[in-house]
Amino acid sequence: MSQQSGTIIQAEITWLSLGEFTEISGLSSGQIQELVELGVFSPSGTSASEWLFNHQSMALVRRLRRLQQDLDLDLDLHALALGYRLLERISELESQLCRERASRLSDL
């Protein structure tokens, strides 16, 4: 067993700084800034040093990165922005579907 056994790690509701977001996305901070300017990512905070990215952005950007790696895709920044927006749209539709399902009266 590992020495970590027994210690408790606190999982946080994730907010990521620009530095952390760079790390998990594999994007450079310049690319991220460009994508923020394009309105693809909308972190909270006014200047880059204050930016915080939410867990949805993290999940989507990781998904996109996985697709890019798994399928050997050669994505430039515009293709990346498009891919992100489409994934975001799908995820919105999925949560809308989930909401519709939850709010629908089930059969007796």
Partner: protein, 340 residues
């Protein structure tokens, strides 16, 4: 170690060209990739296909794989004695190839661990999106260089109550690691992760540095928890809101009543006004799931009018009397001739 037939997995001949392998992989990846495929087994199938491709697309790794010989899939086998020499150019500190092939050196590890290691020890990891490679390139010949540990993802299924109150998850993971003798092994790790209240279905959480160990001063990888909620017998969650069906009788709907309805924090009284139609949603503000910082979602109670199936004679008589007396017409809006 169990043998896996990578050629069979990709459905290509053993002498297939790299191009054919790539084509076969792309076709299967589009079919099974969990972000594209709707196949529930897609993820499993994709992992197999991806593992096969990662080895066969690379001429050096493919050569090493071919040298393992032909076995049938699932057969227990040992690599040939000199096989570990593939690792000799790796230039990794503390990695002893002669120990590696010694008795038991290949037990308890997966073929994929081996090739992943072979690939990683060679050229550093190409991370990130196209053109965004970060660091990690091998420096001098045979120099140990820092390598980041692998990221891991774990599915965590929790109950609604656990999501509402926060919970501690026991995580038991196996990660490929080097032991003191420099042998690659699957090492069990167990630790506890505390989830705060307010997580929702589909949320991804990151435990920094809890993934695979970095080598030669490289950073540890991260561990990602993919949270999903187990279906609850009563409540259906949507983000922080909850939905509950509330079956009532036709006379409760017509006459109105006050009922006890369950919430996560125990039953509350709910007044059903006279003339409540089926399907009406009633909002109980703040009775949903707690939000991470402050506040709660709402609980929506959906009225469901339940009709008795087996009527007693007396009940039947009363319904018949009602039918004869009532002038209520729920279909008045159909008009005389619909469609004109």
């Amino acid at each position: 170690m169990k043998f896996k037939d990578y050629y069979e997995t990709l459905g290509v001949a053993r002498d297939a060209s790299t191009d054919d392998i790539k084509k076969a992989y792309r076709k299967l990846a589009h079919k099974y990739h969990p972000d594209i495929s709707k196949d529930p087994q897609g993820e499993e199938k994709f992992k197999e296909v991806n593992e096969a491709y990662k080895t066969l697309k690379d001429p050096e790794l493919r050569k090493a794989y071919d040298e393992l010989g032909r076995h049938s899939a699932g057969e227990n086998f040992q690599p040939p004695p000199d096989w570990a020499s593939h690792f000799s150019q790796a230039g990794m500190g503390g990695f002893n190839t002669s120990d590696f092939a010694s008795a038991g050196g290949f037990e308890g590890i997966d073929l994929s661990d081996l090739f992943e290691e072979l690939a990683r020890t060679r050229g550093g990891q190409a991370g990130g999106f196209g053109g965004a490679h970060r660091g990690n390139r091998t420096g001098g010949q045979g120099q140990p260089y820092p390598r980041s540990g692998q990221d891991f993802e774990v599915e965590a299924k929790i109950s609604l109550l656990e999501a509402a109150q926060g919970t501690t998850l026991e995580l038991n993971l196996e990660m490929p690691e080097y032991d003191a003798a420099g042998q690659l092994r699957r090492v069990p790790h167990s630790f506890k992760a505390r989830l705060p209240k307010g997580v929702v279905d589909g949320q991804k959480m990151r435990l920094t540095g809890k993934g695979g160990k970095g080598l030669n001063g490289g950073k540890n990888g991260d561990l990602y928890l993919n949270i999903s909620l187990k279906p609850d017998a009563l409540f259906r969650p949507s983000e922080h809101d909850l939905y509950l069906d509330l079956p009532i009788t036709p006379w409760e709907a017509a006459l109105g009543t006050t009922l006890e309805v369950p919430t996560l924090e125990g039953p509350v009284s709910l007044k059903i006004p006279a003339g409540t139609p089926g399907g009406r949603k009633m909002r109980l503000g703040g009775k949903g799931l707690p939000k991470p910082r402050e506040g709660h979602g709402d609980l929506f109670v959906i009225i469901q009018i339940a009709t008795p199936k087996d009527l007693t004679e007396r009940e039947k008589t009363l319904y018949e009397e009602l039918a004869a007396t009532s002038s209520f017409n729920p279909r008045s809006h159909f008009g005389r001739s619909a469609g004109q």
